[in-house]
Amino acid sequence: MPSLHTKETKTMKRIIAAVSCALVAASASAAYPDRPVKLIVPWAAGGDTDNIFRPFAPLLQKHLAQTVVIANVGGASGTVGEREAKNAPADGYTVFAPHDFVHSAYYTGVTDVRYTDFDPICMISSTPSVITASPKTPWKAWAQLQADAKARPGQITVGASLGSTSQFSMALVEKAAGIKFKYIPYDGLAPRMNAILGGHIDLTDSNLTQKSKVQAGLLKFIAIMSEKRNPEIPDVPTMKELGFNVVYAVSRGLMVPKGTPEAVQATLATACVAAAKEPAFANSMTLQGTEVRFLDRKGYAQFLKDNDALYKEISDELGLTKKR
């Protein structure tokens, strides 16, 4: 019996060894991705961010050769989705689709999750901000707006998601021009549009998606915060032309939880480049008034670092920074 027992044990050991070898081999050889990838968009379907990643996801899927499923995880200014992405396993099967709120939300204390909790994969788009005025305001151009703002400090109302990108952009304008606005909380572009069309707020940060309202005379574009004029709205001057060094755009990209294996990150990055270079993507971005702006892993990492420092500075100046 003892011999048999030993024999059995040996056999068992062999089987275990064989099985574990097979498992190791399988996990090494099973090329990522071998199952669907979840893309967390931290806002509701139909919003600006969702509209950018909806046409992007099928292209990413094509180049990743694996299904990409968009999961809208909304709530608390994008931070619910951000936390969900951070807590996901770092295996490349959960990808996070953020924009610049990751910096502002951290400094204003909405969340403890920081951009450094993720590894950057690629940046894909950049949506320049446009200073937009209500039709009920008297200004025809920036000069009149500036003069009025100097005459009535703190009285011109700006609709913004407080502590988020739409306030930060206007804060940069305030700082550069030496004027003071009054911020009224309107979370999201849709409610801001309703308020500004009715004249309940004077100004807001919007983007080229609102172009048709300007053409109809229901809104006024005052200035665009990009380096050069946009061919879609050639009559709208840049802040730079007007003599203010204000360049602001909302940038969107892909990130994965920190610690995702290098090989997986590389695979995702390769697919992302290919997807972002598709003419179909460029086309759908143009239709939405957004520019394709591609940055690779290294470039995006540097961008995030610089951007983070900028947001900290504005947040401090606005007195929005939360002590930790």
């Binding site: 909806r54 809208n72 608390a76 909405v110 009715g198 759908s284 239709l287």
Partner: protein, 512 residues
């Protein structure tokens, strides 16, 4: 004006082409099913339809989405009437009289009053939509923070009409609803409130899991209790349920109350035009109004057709209202129209003030899809009616687990996070406890819908101008506040008269 109707007529004919009719029909069927399944909302159904629309031409996609919207708004009433659980948030008030009617042995009547009210309310709303998109949209622009604040206070004053037998318990329920909205990240600055430092509470209590939890769990638990008491495995005990009804009789029940129908439709359209709360508030407001104008308000809640008509006519008219702001300004009024807008943007159509003149084929196509989907909705429900009706004869021991599973899936699918499922469980228990204590559930839901909106608009108004008198001196705002006072006084008077007539408080209505 004539050009509009020529164009519209042409679009309706186009819509009847196979190319558009098929996606529209598919959308309507998906909508009715999604709307009827508790926990699966219209928004979720429309997001599921969204990827299919990328490959289609824009109008085909939008036709499918319009079908989902219309079908879903009506589909919610099926579950509301048959098992007492609102299939969608906009069918909450349908449960108040629809389910009692089913219990009285008339499930067929409950369903068909709901369906025809939805059809007629939707059609009337459609006429408003087409004939007066411009003026209606102009009304919406007049609403600044003061007006919104007062509107939502007015809506909240309807709690007084929903208190049931005890005013104290009703107010308590409404207050709980308001307090729930305070928990989590605040809507202005994103500051965490009452979160006890936990991540779970940071996200707050999202509306839908709370709604499903409160209604579904409470309803299912009381059904389980009845099973144990040996009322039989079959749902509708008592009189044999009558499944078949004369359609002419049902239609007459609605058409003989033209004022109710038109008033409910108007409320639906107006709430739809004003972004923010949508169908979830419209149906409760219309129900409350119907009760206030009624000559026998005490009968509301016992299974009378008026309650169903008010709720269903208003929530379908609300669909038309939400389409107005998209047509006029390209601004989404609710989550569903936001997804529709997204679909248009992806196709490169910029909805906005020039939308109708720049893309007449698409704009009138949406109107046409809306009008054509109404009869399709009726046909869909008629075709499936054998199936719907069978739901009530399914033994509860089979039905209840299925419904519970659907609720959990729905709560998860909303934001794709498990926390929402825990919220569902928590509020399931809370809802059951409230039913046991005789606290009505409807005021809580109203508080929950309105809490954030009241807060946000109050802060906006004060941030704009700290003068509190502006709430009264702005004419629309002042008028709405006066109406709120009137609404409370009238409700209290009706309540007192009812109790005096009854001689004593009636036995507790355990459902609401």
């Amino acid at each position: 004006m004539e050009i509009i109707y020529t164009q519209l007529f042409g679009s309706i004919l186009d819509m009847l082409h196979f190319k558009y009719l098929l996606p529209l029909l598919f959308g309507t069927i998906a909508g009715v099913i999604g709307g009827a399944l508790p926990g699966i909302t219209i928004t979720m159904t429309i997001i599921m339809v969204l990827p299919f629309t990328f490959g289609l031409d824009p109008l085909q996609g939008l036709a499918a989405m319009t079908g989902v919207y219309v079908g879903g708004s009506a589909g919610g009433s099926i579950t509301a009437s048959l098992i007492g659980i609102p299939g969608t948030p906009s069918a909450v008030a349908t449960t108040f009289d629809g389910f009692p009617m089913t219990r009285n042995g008339e499930p067929g009547r409950a369903i068909w009053v709901g369906v025809w009210a939805a059809f007629l309310g939707g059609a009337l709303g459609g006429i408003f939509l087409i004939a007066s998109t411009g003026p209606l949209a102009a009304v919406a622009l007049e609403f600044g923070p003061w007006e919104y604040f007062s509107l939502f206070v007015f809506a909240l004053s309807m709690v007084a009409g929903l208190v049931g037998t005890s005013i104290t318990k009703g107010l308590l329920s409404g207050a709980i609803g308001l307090v729930i909205t305070v928990i989590g990240t605040d809507p202005i600055m994103g500051v965490p409130r009452l979160t006890l430092g936990t991540d779970f509470l940071r996200g707050g209590f999202p509306f839908l899991p709370v709604l499903i939890g409160i209604f579904a769990f409470a309803q299912l638990m009381s059904d389980i209790e009845k099973m144990r008491r040996g009322a039989g495995g079959v749902a509708a005990a008592g009189p044999t349920p009558r499944l078949w009804v004369s359609q002419a009789k049902v239609l007459w029940e609605i058409l003989s109350r033209p004022f109710l129908l038109v008033w409910s439709t108007l409320i639906g359209v107006l709430i739809g035009v004003l972004p923010g709360i949508g169908g979830s508030a419209a149906n409760v407001m219309a129900y409350d109004q119907a009760k206030k104008f009624s000559r026998h308000p005490e009968k509301f809640g016992t299974g009378i057709p008026e309650g169903i008509i008010a709720s269903e006519a208003s929530n379908n008219a609300n669909v038309a209202g939400s389409l107005v702001t998209i047509m006029a300004f390209g601004i989404p009024g609710d989550a569903v129209t936001a997804v529709m807008l997204g679909a248009m943007t992806i196709h490169g159509i910029q909805p906005g003030p020039l939308f109708i003149s720049q893309h007449p084929a698409v704009a009138y196509g949406i109107y046409a899809a809306y009008l054509v989907s109404l009869p399709l909705m009726v046909l869909t429900i008629a075709a499936g009616s054998r199936l719907w009706m069978r739901v009530i004869s399914v033994p509860k021991s089979i039905l209840i687990p299925i419904v519970l599973v659907l609720c959990v899936i729905g709560a998860y699918a909303l934001n794709n996070i498990m926390d929402d499922v825990y919220v569902l469980l928590l509020f399931g228990l809370a809802g059951y406890a409230m039913v046991k204590l005789g606290i009505p559930l409807a005021p809580l839901i109203l508080g929950l819908i309105l809490g954030d909106q009241i807060e946000v608009n109050l802060v906006r108004a004060i941030a704009n101008d700290p003068n509190p008198w502006l709430f009264i001196t702005h004419p629309i705002s002042g008028g709405l506040l006066a109406a709120s006072v009137g609404s409370v006084v009238l409700a209290l008077w009706q309540h007192r008269r009812h109790q005096q007539r009854a001689g004593m408080p009636e036995d507790e209505d355990n459902d609401f």
